[in-house]
Each structure stands twice: as structure tokens, then as C-alpha cells.
């Protein structure tokens, strides 16, 4: 029987590109190899420790409540005692910027932990994002309550003095780490270390300085080293490890390696015993700033709640709401969450004071308290809320409130929070950026010396790149040989690298606030964005530790709505807020039923627009369903059509029931009644698992977690047989059970809980109402909030004009920087385009034009002089045809403007001289044709108010018997048609069996469907066309949704040249185009998707 041993110097893959095993694998492997503890220490970071902690915690929970799946095999090998007594200690490996050898540090107790995290914070804040600059003096300042293991470097000459210094600082808390790395001179080196240890009275501690759990991971570690060093394997040479020895070894093996120093093995046990710290001890308390002195948080929350409730319901708080509030407050008291609610309320109030619109979303919308405090907008009087969804006593998880703010002004809120709580008490949560197929294959490809082309082909082989696997079939599709050994190898390693953390980044807006010092809880680091700091743990980590976070998110539509409210106040004298929009407005629902929703929040996508006429929303709850139904969850679960059929009454609403002996026949009615027996929301799927498949609370909780995190995609399959079999056993139809599970799986990748859908539906309704009743205001606000949403300015303007809005051109005498509203002669509001729509005009110049416009500009020179504009700006204005009020069309204006000197804003005298420029004879320029104007409009403004390009080209197309979009839509189902238009959007949703293309001409919009097989044939045409001719058959649904099913596609982009010989209009694809702007639901917020390429060379 060998002496017990614990590996105390174990790195994980959070030592980025050094460690080659997940923290959980490290901990569990140590357990399996018979060690009785492990110390996780990554390079200047504690980012990975929570995962190891959570893995062990899970394992222990499973021990009490054995699950199916992953850990079963592991549990079978180990006895419970070993698992219970296994000790995880967490710390960090300090790598210094000076000559000091690495020191592995473990906190001895809670104080030590705080000292360690503050030490790391110091190093982090000194350096750029992703780096940590530490000096041995920093450690000297913090050396109490810390246990240190010095890891000697190759040369030992300076080791004794280092040890002597550390021993002075922390007598008795310093160890000397000894390794036997099989370098040939191991024994001699060990002898020297023993000698130094004896002389400095530092105990020797045996370790293997592990980089990975199993020796089989050496090759992956080599690949990671190459990525880190930016070299290929062939070049890496001695930068790689010489052998595979740095894995976790059994106590036997360690004892054999250290036969000459058995005391070093025993020392690991002394060390373990000295550590009295576990992550359990991280007690965390919410700040009490918002509570006035002398008040207790719960009382204060209750007082605020009742006060606001009275304001929300001026006619008296409805009984139902009052009851809800009482229940919620009681539970909040029990769980001691009052401070959390107060903090959120505080943030919302700040936003209100600053005039920033905000709205809570997510499960918080289930709380009546949140509603009366103004955090959320879903009225409990009108909706059934499930407070338990938000907070429950059984689920020991902190509440999670997400609040959306106007995207242009969210930074103000963030900086306010930093300012109010201080950087040491507030921090953004981290997001662990992990290897995805695209990034993995790119970097691994480089390591294997594949050319950029090949890796790009491999990386580009999947649409959307969103998957956890790289199927070989895709490789073949790219024209590469999957049997090629190098490519196979690259794919093999890329697969293994998937899910490995690559670096930490800041979360989009998740804040953690603390009453005490946050930097004594977790290290804080600089983010890439200036003025942002974030903590090292991500949202799963803080969940596992029970920390609470507030999500401060940005939403473009809130910016747009706030601008709408501003304009309503200014132009219509209406003072409105989100809560003041009249409910149940007939005209608004009529508009939505027509699918007339360009620019409206959420329901503006092609798929949503097609759904609107089918779903025919008539009340708020219909919008909730509308928002939730066009999602991968319900679509994959095949729930959409059954719901529509039941809604239209063509299918009876039935509730599947269990066999009579297993329970009441209507057990599902309660769960599914609101959605006519079809599960559409996340919580329904959960409820279903609990009611129909009898999942226990713990099991349901696990299922929910598997659903919530993409990372756990692998684990969700464990639940498949569990759910389907149990439902089948209880007498449910197996197919129904299977489809329920499919839906749960769909939610795993993207699904909506009901409360979330309700919050969004509220914004859908508000934006629809404004669009319906104030189209000019809506279009103006939408244009001024760009970039956001699906549509390019051209479509927004076109839509506004179709709704009767008078849209006026950019003009130096009328426009401002932003688009603005003008009162037309008939009393309606007209939309005047602003300088922001014109290419090449800068914001401050736009403002200067307005400021200097004390009287109208009377000539080109007058404008240049008074607004101090340089030649380039003047030319941009002329090019945008903004001189019409000076009786100059684009050509004349350009001719005049180009004569002005090119330099900086004209000096006074030079400008005066410019006026004196000699009179010129008339250049006799040819007149600019309409086609030329349209083309130039598209080049400078991306839209034209003068005509649609297709209108100019119409005679050509008519001669070819190509009909307009409107004419195609008027044909009967099955008719053959040839339609053409400029391409707005191309999308390839879901499985990619069909490609949807939207064409536009002067009469309207036409939706094309291209099946994948046809696409392969017409790939070039589909991808390259800006002006597309499609031949095919019309398909018309009963609701009059028209699609043209393509049979032949012809690229007619060349015809755009016919507008004029020299100008070709730049047809801008919509922001939603997936083929040019792939949008990954998780990787990028639509807000962050890059703005369209500004121009393209067509030569």
C-alpha cells in the first residue's frame, strides 16, 4: 500500500494554451487515480477553479441521488467514502514579470483567498486585457494566510536566496516543489533540491507539475503550444515538452519516483491539512446602498412596493395583485433577497432620472413586485404570472433579472454603476470564449502547416459555423479530401479542442455587485473596452457559487421607442411612456394581421411576417405566442402547424393523457391550456417533464440546466430515453413523447420562456402601435437609431412612403444631422432626411451646417464659407443632391463645388476670394437622366426618393415579358411567372433545405424560395445577383402569403448598368442577409453585427 498523495500543482485549460484538460477532468481523474486531493492552480488566474468545484459537487450530489449517464461508470469504480473525503484546494500559479520562479499559492483560509484575489487584481489592473503583471514585492505585501509552493526554474543558483526571502515573509508557509520530469538528471537535481531545502529549512513537496489529466493528452498539449507560440509543429522543436510525463499519476507511481525523498510525498498530506478553505465559504452579500440609513432592507422594499403599487394602480390595487405582492414579499423575506430587488430598483430609477427607457425581461417578468417597481412591463392584473419561475424556495438559485436599456445610452448606466459602487465592488461577469469549429480548425490548421486557403475552406464549410461537431461529409463538400492524413489530423485535433476556453471576455452586461470588496471574492481584470472591468468568473460559475447578477443589456428598439416618445411630445404634444400606450388597439392588430410589420420589434423578420397573417393576432397574448413560436424550439419540435390548425379550428384541441391507472386524464390541460395543448414555452416543456414524465425536482433542475447552457449539449441526450420511456410507460403516445423531447432539445439551442416572450411582446405592441398611428415619427426614430433591426434605410423609407408619409430629400437648407420631422402644408408630419444618410458628411459638419443657418444659404460659396466646410464635405453634399433649394441639381452643384479649393475649412479671405473666382463660360454639361440620378442616389444615400431602379428599367423588362412583383403576387396558385427585382435579403434558416430570397421592385416585394438542390445549381446566381430574375411557380397559402418557387435563376445585375452608362447603383442588402452577414444567435447580438460594407467596386 503506497502512501497517500495529492497533486498540488495542476494546471487546467484555463492556463490558456498551456493546460490541456478541463478543470473537471483534472479533479475527477485525480480522484480516479487514487489521489486523495488535488490543487488546481492556473497561471495568474482562478478562472477555472469553480468548474472543478462544481464537478465534484455534482458528483457528490449524484452520489446521494444517482442519475443516468455520464458519471454512472465513474461512481461504480469508487467507493463513496473516497469521493466524500477527496479534497479540492484552489489557488493560482503566480508567474512573475521579474526573475522570480513561479510560485503556486493556495489560500489557507477565507482571508487568504481575499488576499490572493486582490493580489491578482493588482496584477491584472496593471496590464492590458488578458495579461497580469506581478512582481515578487506584490506577494510580499499579501503573504499572510497564503501557503506557497516555489517551483524552481531549471537553474538553481538563485533559489536559496529566493527561499530565504520568502521564509522571512511567511515562516512555515513555504514549500519547495520538486518534480521528477524524466530529464535524465532527475536524481541529481532532487538531491540538490533536498540539500537546498534542508539548508533553508523549507519542506520539500512532491509534485508532477501536471499540465493534463492523462498522458494521452500530450499531443493536444503540443498542438496548443504551437498555437500559443504561433509556429507549426515542424518548427516548434524544443518549445514542446520532451515527453508525456506531466499527467496525473497514481500514488504508487509517485512513491516510486520519489523513493529517495519519501518525505516529499508525505508533505502533500501536511499541505492539504493546512488548507482550511473551500469555495463554499464565499459568502456574498448584496450592497445596501439603496437602503436609507436606519432602515432594514425588507421593510424598505415593502414600503417602496406598496407606495409604487398605489401609483401603478391609481384606482386601487386589484385584489389579485395585492395577494401576489404579499406572497412575493414574504418569499423575498424568507430568502433574504430584499437588497437585490432594491439594487435593481435603484438602477431602474437612475435610468428614469436620466430619461433612459428600460424594461426588464426574462423570468423577472413573472414578478408583481418587479412590475410595480417599474422594472418590468407585464401587468400581473392582466396576465397570469408564475412567480415560482423567478424565485423558488426549492431551487436554491439566485434570481436573475435582465434589464434592457436604450442601446445608445447603456454605457451611461454602466459607468454610473461603476461610479456608485466603485470598481472594487462592481464588475462585469466574464464570458469564457471557447473554441468553436471555425476558430478551432483555423488555428489547428495553421499548426499543421495547412495553407490559409485550406483552413478557410474547412472553417467555412458549415453555414453559420454553429455546431459542436465537424462532420466529414462537410469536408468532402468543400472539395477537400477527408482521407488526406494531414486534413484528418487537423480535424481530429480541432474536434478535441472544441469547447476549450480560449480567453476570457466581458459578458454583454452582467454585473455582479457586492456589499464588501468584490476583489476579495474574485480577481478583477481590465476589459478590452476602455473603462470596463470584469471579474474572472462567468455566469455558470457565479450560479454555482450563488452570486447574484444584474444584466444591464442594450436594446436598439428601446432607443427607437424613446425617440418616438420624444418626437410625440415635440410634435404632437403627447407625453407618453411605455405604460401609456393604449392597449387592445384594433387598428394596430389589423396592421399586424396584414403582415405589415417592417421595422417593428421582433416580428419584422421574413419568417415572422409570414406567420402574422396565419396567426392573426388579436390580443396581447397572441403577440406573446407570435414572438415565441417562430423559434428553433417550437419549429424543431414540430409544434407550429398543430398550433395554427388548432387556433383556426381545423383541428380539435385535445390534451394527450396518461393511461387511467397513472393519473388524471386532464393532467396536461393545466400545463398546456393557454397554448391549445401545444407546448410552446420553455416552462411548459419543463412542466411537461415533471407532470407527464414524473421528473423529480432535482431531475427537472438538471434538465433545466442542461437546456440552459449550450455547453451541456452533450448532456441533454441523457434525458431523452428517461423522458420518452417514462412518458410511454405512463401510457402516453410515444410519438408525442418524442416530439416533446425534440422541443426541449430545441430550447437547448434557442427557446423563449413565456415571461420573456411577454416582455418582448410588450415592445412588439408598443412599436406596432407607433408605426400604425404615427408612421412618420416611427420611420424617423428608426432611421435615427440605425444601425438596428433587419432593414436598411431604403426599406424603411419605402415602407414609410407606402404608409403615406411624405419623405423629403436631404437639403442643405432644410436638413439637420439627424432625420427630422416637418409639418407639411396639409398638417401631416413629413420626414426630412438628414445629413447622416449621406455618405461622406461627418457628424460635426452636419451640426455646423445647422448652426450657421441663421438665414438660408444662397449659394454654394455661401454655405462653404459660413459653415466652414472643406472641399470633400461640399462634394459629398453635392453628390447627395442636397443643393436643390439653391436651384442646382446634382450635376450643376458638383461642377460648382469642385471648383472650390480642396483644403481645410476655407480661411476667411480665401473664402472671400473664392467668391471672386473668375466667371466661367457655361460648360454645357449634358442633362443628367433619371436613371443616372437614381444610380447616384443609391451610391451616395443607399436609397432614392426619385424612383426605384426597377421603375427606370421597367421598359426593358416589360419587353421581355417579365412582370412586376405586384403582378406576380396577384397570380393564382400554381401559375408560372417570371419576376425580377433587386435582392434585399437572402436567408437560409434552420437545416438549410431552402433558401429564402426577397426581391423588391417599384410595386412591392416578392418572396422567392429556392430549394437546396436548385441552389447548388444556381449558387453563383444566388450569391452574386444584386438584380435577380426568377422563373417559377406561384405558391399561395389560404392566408394569401405568396411565394415564388424558383425553377430558374438568372443574374441580371448587369442591367443595373443600363440606368446610366457610368453609374451603377449600389444595392445594399438588408442587415439580415445571412449569406453576407451570418448571424449567430449566441455569438453575436444582432446589434453587434457589422454595418454593411460601404461600397463595392463593380469594375
Amino acid at each position: 500500500m503506497s502512501p497517500p498523495f495529492a497533486e498540488l500543482v495542476a494546471a487546467t485549460n484555463f492556463s490558456f494554451l498551456r493546460g490541456a484538460s478541463h478543470p473537471s477532468d483534472m479533479a475527477l481523474t485525480a480522484l480516479l487515480r487514487g489521489q486523495n486531493g488535488i490543487g488546481i492552480a492556473d497561471r495568474n488566474s482562478v478562472a477555472g477553479v469553480v468548474r472543478a468545484y462544481a464537478a465534484l459537487k455534482d458528483l457528490r450530489e449524484n452520489l446521494r441521488d444517482p442519475p443516468a449517464g455520464d458519471h454512472a461508470a465513474l461512481l461504480a469504480q469508487l467507493d463513496a467514502g473516497r469521493i466524500e473525503s477527496f479534497k479540492l484546494i484552489v489557488g493560482a500559479r503566480l508567474v512573475f514579470a521579474d526573475e522570480t520562479p513561479d510560485i503556486v499559492v493556495y489560500p489557507q483560509n477565507r482571508d487568504g483567498w481575499g488576499r490572493l484575489t486582490r493580489l491578482l487584481t493588482t496584477g491584472n489592473l496593471r496590464a492590458r486585457k488578458g495579461e497580469c503583471h506581478l512582481y515578487v514585492d506584490d506577494l510580499a505585501q499579501a503573504a499572510r494566510d497564503l501557503l506557497l509552493i516555489v517551483m524552481p526554474s531549471r537553474h538553481l543558483a538563485r533559489l536559496p536566496s529566493t527561499l530565504a526571502r520568502l521564509n522571512d515573509l511567511a515562516q512555515g508557509d513555504v514549500w519547495l516543489g520538486a518534480t521528477m520530469p524524466r530529464r535524465g538528471d532527475d536524481r541529481r537535481r532532487l538531491a540538490r533540491l533536498k540539500d537546498i531545502a534542508a539548508r533553508t529549512q523549507t519542506p520539500l513537496l512532491a509534485t508532477n507539475d501536471a499540465l493534463y489529466a492523462d498522458s494521452g493528452q500530450r499531443d493536444l498539449q503540443d498542438v496548443m503550444t504551437c498555437i500559443r507560440e504561433g509556429v507549426t509543429l515542424a518548427q516548434a522543436g524544443r518549445r514542446l515538452e520532451v515527453n508525456a510525463e506531466r499527467h496525473l499519476k497514481t500514488p504508487d507511481e509517485m512513491a516510486r519516483l520519489f523513493t529517495e525523498a519519501p518525505e516529499a510525498i508525505e508533505e502533500t498530506q501536511c499541505f492539504l491539512a493546512r488548507v482550511d478553505f473551500s469555495l463554499d465559504q464565499l459568502k456574498y452579500e448584496y450592497p445596501d446602498e439603496p437602503v436609507p440609513p436606519g432602515r432594514n432592507p425588507q421593510e424598505w422594499l415593502e414600503e417602496l412596493t406598496w407606495r409604487h403599487a398605489a401609483m401603478r394602480y391609481p384606482d386601487g390595487v386589484p385584489e389579485k395583485v395585492e395577494k401576489l405582492l404579499r406572497e412575493e414579499l414574504a418569499l423575498i423575506e424568507t430568502l433574504d433577497y430584499a437588497r437585490y430587488f432594491l439594487t435593481i430598483h435603484d438602477i431602474v430609477r437612475i435610468a428614469e432620472d436620466k430619461g433612459i427607457l428600460c424594461q426588464g425581461r426574462g423570468s423577472a417578468a413573472n414578478s408583481a413586485v418587479c412590475y410595480v417597481l417599474g422594472v418590468t412591463c407585464v401587468d400581473p392584473a392582466e396576465n397570469d404570472l408564475l412567480f415560482a419561475r423567478f424565485i423558488s424556495q426549492e431551487r436554491k438559485e439566485p434570481p436573475d433579472i435582465d434589464v434592457d436599456f436604450e442601446h445608445e445610452r447603456r454605457e451611461e448606466i454602466i459607468q454610473h454603476i461603476y461610479g456608485k459602487y466603485g470598481r472594487e465592488r462592481a464588475g462585469l461577469v466574464a464570458t469564457v470564449i471557447s473554441y468553436r469549429p471555425r476558430s478551432a480548425i483555423r488555428e489547428v490548421g495553421k499548426v499543421f502547416g495547412l495553407t490559409e486557403d485550406v483552413t478557410a475552406a474547412l472553417a467555412g464549410m458549415q453555414w453559420g459555423s454553429w455546431g459542436s461537431d465537424i462532420p466529414l461529409a462537410y469536408v468532402r463538400q468543400t472539395g477537400l479530401d477527408p482521407e488526406n492524413p494531414v486534413i484528418r489530423r487537423a480535424i481530429h485535433f480541432a474536434k478535441r479542442l472544441l469547447g476549450f476556453p480560449r480567453h476570457l471576455s466581458q459578458h454583454v452586461g452582467g454585473f455582479v455587485l457586492a456589499r464588501g470588496r468584490l476583489d476579495e471574492l474574485t480577481p478583477i481584470a481590465n476589459a478590452a473596452m476602455p473603462e470596463r472591468t470584469f471579474i474572472e468568473w462567468d455566469k455558470d460559475d457565479i450560479d454555482a457559487l450563488g452570486l447574484m447578477k444584474v444584466d444591464v443589456l442594450a436594446l436598439g428598439m428601446l432607443t427607437c421607442i424613446r425617440k418616438c416618445f420624444d418626437y410625440l411630445r415635440a410634435h404632437e404634444g403627447k407625453d407618453m411612456g411605455l405604460a401609456d400606450v393604449p392597449a387592445d388597439d384594433r387598428a394596430t392588430y389589423d396592421m399586424l394581421c396584414r403582415g405589415d410589420s417592417i421595422g417593428v420589434f421582433q416580428v419584422e423578420s421574413r419568417a415572422q411576417m409570414n406567420m402574422l397573417p396565419r396567426l392573426k393576432p388579436r390580443e396581447f397574448y397572441d403577440l406573446v405566442i407570435q414572438v415565441a413560436i417562430v423559434r428553433p424550439g417550437p419549429i424543431q419540435g414540430n409544434m407550429v402547424h398543430p398550433y395554427l390548425r388548432r387556433r383556426s379550428g381545423s383541428e380539435p384541441v385535445i390534451y394527450p393523457s396518461p393511461a387511467p391507472e397513472h393519473g388524471p386524464a386532464d393532467e396536461l390541460r393545466k400545463v398546456l391550456e393557454k397554448t391549445k395543448g401545444v407546448p410552446l414555452f420553455q416552462e411548459q416543456a419543463m412542466k411537461l417533464a415533471m407532470v407527464a414524465a414524473k421528473f423529480s425536482d432535482v431531475e427537472a433542475n438538471r434538465l433545466r440546466r442542461a437546456m440552459a447552457t449550450f455547453r451541456n449539449v452533450g448532456t441533454i441526450h441523457q434525458f431523452e430515453s428517461m423522458m420518452v420511456e417514462r412518458m410511454a410507460a405512463r401510457g402516453y403516445d410515444r410519438a408525442f413523447a418524442q416530439s416533446c423531447f425534440e422541443q426541449i432539445k430545441g430550447f437547448g439551442s434557442y427557446g423563449f420562456p413565456e415571461s420573456h416572450a411577454a416582455s418582448f411582446a410588450k415592445l412588439v405592441y408598443v412599436s406596432s402601435w407607433i408605426k400604425c398611428h404615427h408612421p412618420a415619427i416611427f420611420a424617423c426614430a428608426l432611421l435615427n437609431s440605425q444601425p438596428m433591426g433587419f432593414y436598411a434605410p431604403a426599406q424603411i423609407v419605402r415602407d414609410a412612403r407606402e404608409h403615406g408619409v411624405d419623405v423629403r430629400a436631404v437639403d442643405v437648407n432644410f436638413s439637420e444631422w439627424d432625420n427630422r420631422l416637418e409639418r407639411a402644408d396639409n398638417g401631416d408630419l413629413a420626414l426630412r432626411l438628414g445629413f447622416r444618410q449621406a455618405d461622406g458628411v461627418h457628424e460635426n459638419e452636419g451640426y455646423r451646417i445647422v448652426d450657421a443657418r441663421t438665414k438660408p444659404y444662397d449659394s454654394v460659396e455661401d454655405l462653404a464659407r459660413r459653415a466652414a466646410l472643406n472641399g470633400a464635405t461640399m462634394r459629398a453634399l453635392a453628390d447627395a443632391d442636397a443643393f436643390r433649394s439653391l436651384q442646382s441639381d446634382r450635376r450643376d452643384a458638383l461642377w460648382a463645388v469642385r471648383r472650390l479649393p480642396d483644403a481645410k475649412p476655407l480661411p476667411l479671405f480665401a473664402a472671400a476670394d473664392a467668391r471672386e473666382l473668375a466667371r466661367e463660360e457655361d460648360p454645357l454639361l449634358p442633362k443628367m437622366s433619371l436613371g443616372e440620378h437614381v444610380a447616384a442616389d443609391y451610391q451616395t444615400l443607399r436609397l432614392s426618393l426619385k424612383a426605384h431602379p426597377m421603375a427606370v428599367l421597367r421598359p426593358i423588362f416589360t419587353r421581355e415579358r417579365i412582370i412586376t412583383c405586384a403582378e406576380v403576387s396577384a397570380l393564382t396558385d400554381g401559375a408560372f411567372a417570371r419576376g425580377a427585382g433587386v435582392v434585399l435579403v437572402r436567408q437560409r434558416p434552420g437545416q438549410g433545405n431552402a433558401i429564402f430570397v426577397t426581391l423588391e421592385d417599384e410595386t412591392g416585394i416578392l418572396n422567392i424560395v429556392i430549394w437546396a438542390r436548385l441552389f447548388e445549381r444556381y449558387r453563383r446566381e444566388t450569391m452574386a445577383s444584386r438584380l435577380m430574375l426568377v422563373e417559377g411557380r406561384v405558391q399561395k397559402s389560404p392566408e394569401n402569403v405568396v411565394h415564388l418557387m424558383a425553377q430558374r435563376i438568372i443574374d441580371r445585375s448587369g442591367d443595373l448598368n443600363r440606368l446610366s452608362e457610368a453609374h451603377r447603383p449600389e444595392i445594399v442588402l438588408s442587415r439580415a442577409d445571412e449569406l453576407i452577414h451570418p448571424q449567430h444567435p449566441r455569438s453575436r447580438h444582432p446589434r453587434d453585427v457589422r454595418i454593411l460594407p460601404k461600397s463595392r467596386d463593380f469594375h
Binding site: 500530450r218 522543436g237 467555412g460 458638383l894 466661367e920
Partner: protein, 456 residues
Amino acid sequence: MTLADAKARAPHLAVAQADAEADERLMLRLAAFCEQFTPLVALDPPCGLMLDATGCAHLFGGDAALRTSVLQAMARLSFTGRAAVAGTPDAARALARFGAEGVTPPGEDEIFARPLSIAALEAPRETSVALTRAGLATLGDLADRSSAALTARFGDETMRRLTRILGREDARITPLRVLPDCMVERRFAEPFLDLSAIEHVLRPLIAEAMGLLEKRGQGGRAFEARFFRTDGAVRALCFETGAPSRNVEALLRLFRLKADSLADPLDPGYGFDVIRFGVLNAETLAQSQIGFERRDAQDGDFADLVDRLAARFGRERVLRFAARDTHDPLRAAAYVDAAASPSSPPGAWPKPEPGEPPLRPLFLFDPPQPIETMAETPDGPPMHFKWRRVRHLIARAEGPERIAPEWWRNAAGARRRTRDYYRLEDRDGRRFWVFREGLYESETAAPRWFLHGLFA
């Protein structure tokens, strides 16, 4: 269009990296080839050549015939080209690239250039957009308007270019090579193939050139013979004399020496079209002699040795060791060309630890010698081993130094094994470097042992 765009449209698109340097090399070769038409040839990027044919065209039967000969010669080399002959370089460029090619009669450049699109100005994008916005589509549209008004709007540069294309202003080209002081050539109706008869061609050519020099009272110091091959390759042999010379036989001798010393001998291939002899540098014959240049003997003894050995045995036979950056002792040393610059070795020799004995021996067996051993499992050192029928009893051992195989070099299937190296000392004090191949149990049941080296 980005590559990604292009690939989205045509996924199987073959992609080659643009190699501007190779392009330029090719253009330089073509330029040399074109020197058979006129010695004044300039590069006209991108991918263009400018030939100053002033006074040469009649040799080919006029402008049109010259243009045809050039295009035909290019076609023989499998190049398609566009060519125009015009009064000024800019006009010729514009017509060749943007116009109808062909030959412009003298003085009619403007007539031919007027219909050209304004693209022919090759102005910056911003300027050409501005011109089209003004409705000015052709050079003629510009030519008709007041040049002061145009210059104020579109800049001097564009207007200068316009006047040059229109032939209103001339510009000279800068040829690639300076014109020799004196030049004579011989054109062959049938390609010249017979190298042995080359002196029969050269002698009269040299004599002719010397005659020309004599009239000027000069002698040549640098000479060049150029051979234009039918396939476009051009070979030039240059030689110099210490003093100005007009001695035909001496020059022929120098030529012969030069030709014999060529590493890559003169090859007529399918024959020479033109042979040209030029005097690159001529001086008055009376000038005093200056001393021969001499190389400093101190400098580069080693390089000289390598050169001499290489000259005698061939470069590929003179090699030296270079360190390779690898853990694998079998691959740690590589042979490299001794003459190659030692400044960039593939790796550096590992530095020994101060005060530590060397881990590696100086003498290595290649391949390692199999030995029979008795050793402790799993990874103990040998207690004794037998090599060349002699048993060595081990007195001291150190190790193992475990060196894992370079897995990425394995062809599929051929698995190499981890090696455990030991430094051994037998009872007689001899030191050995041995290794066990394969980790016991995890890689092999019966590891084999080898002697890899001897410590001195």
C-alpha cells in the same frame, strides 16, 4: 470582391496567391526579349511593356509590321497581348489598354484618342466618379472644354495625362538598360544552332564594333554579347578588360574563357534569332593602366576552402553539421550545404548546464546498435549488457531521460516508441549512452535495448 465572396459563388474555385515578384521577373524577361526590336524597352506596369521604336520601325517594315512582329513573337511564347503604336507613350498605353489598339498615323493621336472612355485617364477613383457625374464620358468631351475649368476641378495631374494621351505633349520613357556606347548585331533568317561556329559569327561582329571604336579613338573596357533565343530566353555574357582594348583576337579569347567557365553553358535550344555585340564602356585608348583588383587573402579563408573544395567535388558534396531544433537525438543534427550562409541555422546547439556533465555523447552510432540487457521493470537502468559479444557490468547509471516520439512525423501505422535514455558507466570506467525503446507495458511487452553512443 473578397475571396470569401468569390468562394461563396464558386466553392471549387482554384485560388493562387498573386506573386508580384514573379510577375515582375517575367516582365523583365519579356522586356529583355523585346530588346531585339529596339534597345529602348521600359516596363509599363501593370503587365505592360513600352517600346520606343523611334527610328527602328523601318527595320521591320514600318509601324504596322513592327506591331505585328511583336505580337507574333509574343504569340509564339504563348502570350496574348494588346499593342498599339502611337505618337506618345501615353497615347500608346491608352490605346492599347482602353482603345482599339492598332497604329495611329503620325500626328493623329488626338483623333484616335477622343473616343476613349475617361477610364483611359487612369485617374483616382474619386476623380473618375466626379467626371462621370459631370456627364463627361470620353476624352473628347474633355478635350472640347476649357482646360482651365477642368484643371480647377480635376487637378493638374489628370489634365497633364489628358494632353499626353491626346498627343499634345510628349514624354520620354526610361528604358531598363542604358544604351551601349556602341552596338552591332546580326539577325538570322534561320535560327542559328551551331555553337561550334559561334566564333565565326562573333569575330566579324567584334571587328565591326572595333572599327567603330577606332574611328572615335576609343577602346572598350566592358563588353557584352547577347544571344536572343527563339523561345524568348535571352543570355548575356559580359567580360571586361583591365585596359581599353580594340584587339579582336584578345576579346574573342576572353569570350571563349568566359563561355567555358559557365556553370550553365550557353545553350542555343531551338536556335538564336539575333546575336548582338555591344561595348558597354568605352574609353580613350591612351589612358593609363590601373592595378588589378585583388581579393584580401585574410578574408574568408574558410569560405575560400569551401569554394575550392566545392569547385573540385561539387557543392552538394561539401557539407557541414547544423543543429536542428528537436528533442529527438536521431534528428538533432542535420547536414547542410557548407557554402550556405551560416547565419540562419535551423536550430541552435543546446547549451550545456554550467557545472553539469554532458548529457549527450560526442560519438553516436547510426543506426544505434542493438544490445542485450538485464534491467529492472518498468523503467530501471540496465544492470549489465552485452555488446559485440562483450559483457559490461554496470557500476553507475543515471536516467532515464525520457524522449517521446515526434508523433506528428509518424506516417499512419508506423508507430514510433518512447525512448528512455541512460548514461551508464561500467566497472572498467567506460561510459555508454543506451536506450530502451518502448515504455514497458503501455507501449510494448518486451522493450528492446540499443547502444546509441559512447562518451569520450
